[in-house]
Symmetry: C2
């Protein structure tokens, strides 16, 4: 049973005969991607490689500078779209709506229905009309609790909206993994986010490879080495037998082997990066599968279904890792962010369309 439509991996590009309906922005901490969407939410054009929130605000001293800086970056990415389509509605998600972004948008607290929360927009004014920003999600946790800790997301809630089941999938719980610098594991029931957590996997990988002693014996490979990645997973899982609930020690006890295996001639310098990636993603899967995978659904409905929602090389990496842990993931909508932005715009009447 698949919870998500698995569309082609090629973005749907249609002729400009289809008039643009919406400018949709996925504006994160370190990346900025813009979509020009057509009358049924089709991606007419995609622009990527824009400057993320951190880069845009590098030299910003006050709120006026801040506005100028974000407007300039908006024009750099979408200037021609704005000129050719005056008054075209604009919507955005991500850290652009944080205190480090263009303006701070309040979080919606979970449990939260994505169909509702993503529709409560806040706007900033631009020379081209208002830019509407989607709120992030907050898990408040229990103050003082050591197990129920707070967590936050900005942008992922919109990808989740875009990745929601086409048909009503009922209320059975399912899990969506959104790989990245700060990977999110999200537990949903229908369109309601009931719980989520953050794993700093991508940032830790970057720190270890670039700044730690482990990087000294490593060489950057031409292309990913899957055998080394699988080996890292095996060490993280503490087993070579795929199973639904892998165990294994934490990364504090395993990381140093990325150095000692090379010193003893058991790992090639070109394999170190993928091996470390396996240790980290493996440990992440151990943590969250322990937390969520076998919570009463085993047996009756089988383990909780897991989907991967990403648009990067990490999609395949997480797919391999979950399969290696005995978990068979499905894959979410290729353009989940663009689709989520479109659905939020529709839900608020920012744009219209007959049949969704």
């Amino acid at each position: 049973m698949t919870y998500f439509s698995t569309t082609t991996l090629e973005p749907q590009v249609e002729s400009r005969a289809n008039p643009p309906q919406l400018i949709a922005l996925d504006w994160g901490t370190s990346s900025f991607r813009a979509y020009l969407l057509g009358s049924e939410g089709q991606v007419l054009e995609t622009r990527s490689g824009g400057r993320g929130v951190l880069a845009v605000t590098t030299d910003v001293l006050n709120q006026k500078d801040r506005t100028v800086a974000f407007v300039r970056e908006l024009e750099t990415m979408c200037g021609d779209w704005l000129q050719d389509n005056p008054g075209l509605p604009m919507i955005a998600c991500g850290m652009v709506g944080s205190n480090q972004g263009w303006t701070e948008v309040d979080y919606r607290t979970i449990p939260s229905n994505l169909l509702e929360s993503s529709a409560s927009l806040t706007s900033v004014s631009t020379p081209y009309g208002p830019l509407w920003i989607i709120p992030g999600l907050l898990k408040e946790g229990q103050p003082g609790s050591i197990v129920d800790l707070p967590d936050v997301m900005r942008g992922e809630e919109t990808q989740l909206l875009g990745a929601l089941p086409q048909a009503d999938a009922g209320d059975d719980p399912y899990i969506v993994v959104l790989p990245g610098t700060h990977t999110k594991w999200v537990r949903l029931s229908g369109s309601v986010v009931t719980d989520f957590g953050t794993s700093m996997t991508g940032e830790l990988y970057d720190l270890l490879v670039r700044h730690s002693i482990l990087g000294r014996l490593a060489e950057t490979p031409e292309q990913p080495n899957e055998a080394a990645f699988l080996r890292g997973l095996d060490v993280a899982f503490g087993t070579q037998e795929p199973r639904a609930s892998p165990g294994g020690e934490g990364i504090l006890a395993t990381l140093f082997s990325a150095r000692t295996l090379v010193m003893t001639g058991n790992l090639d310098a070109l394999e170190v990066h993928d091996y470390i990636s396996g240790l980290l993603i493996g440990a992440e899967i151990v943590n969250f599968s322990r937390r969520w995978m076998n919570d009463g659904n085993e047996g009756v409905q089988g383990p909780t279904p897991v989907s991967i929602c990403a648009n990067t090389a990490l999609t395949r990496r997480y797919g391999v890792a979950l399969n290696h842990a005995g978990i068979t993931p499905s894959f979410a909508h290729r353009n989940a962010a663009a689709r989520g932005l479109w659905l939020a715009a529709l839900a608020t009447g920012l744009t219209t369309k007959e049949n969704i």
Copy 2:
């Protein structure tokens, strides 16, 4: 039952009437400490703050430069000792004996009796006579194994020698923790090292505080905040009930809380550093206590005894953490390195003394 002598925290400084017998060097990656030892191994004088192996070799291009650089640093630290006591024997331990150091000294493989392995010395020649270097220890592991991984140490083997039981403590297994940038957990039986592992706790703490997003909401406290440290331990253990086998999720699932707790007003910016320290040291204790603490000794002889061997602020921190995990550690010889260097020199006849 205490496995270690717990001497005064003040170094034993005696009058120069006691003639120097040995120059003992603890020369690591980032630190260099020199001891002038008397006729019974007493510390007559201590010099610290010398340049570690990395700093010494920064501009080194070839082996000749390398020798010159190390001799110069030796003279900077011990020049007057060498002038006043011509022909005084010299011994060293640590990364000075690595391929990044003065000369590469082979490892001794475990299981290894410290009384023997620390006595097989390699020398480099200096204008002041030979400098004898103690070999490190190698855990070979099983090639291809995902659980029996290789590991290495250089310098800690000498601290362990200096921290060995005064009287014969029999063959009951015991554990020595040596906190640091790369904390070592060592399992011994009598004077034989049977197993050990490395936890990159100190290096990870440094990376996270200095380079990760967690550092952005943190302020450096005037002094350690024990409450925040204990809170981090509780989260790492997944419990506030001290017990011998703490559980809890790995740091990938807990680290981000060092940001979200501040964002939600549940943690002060001044508490972040100690909270992260608690998360990391707590996870380290979970890993190694799971591996070693309850391996058949529970009940009959009680849990495996644990001792902390360090000379830094980390000694107290690890003591608090182990106690919080329900493990009561003892504390090793204050000058374990100096004592180990002395014992190795005695064992090889490099220096002599009637009654050890």
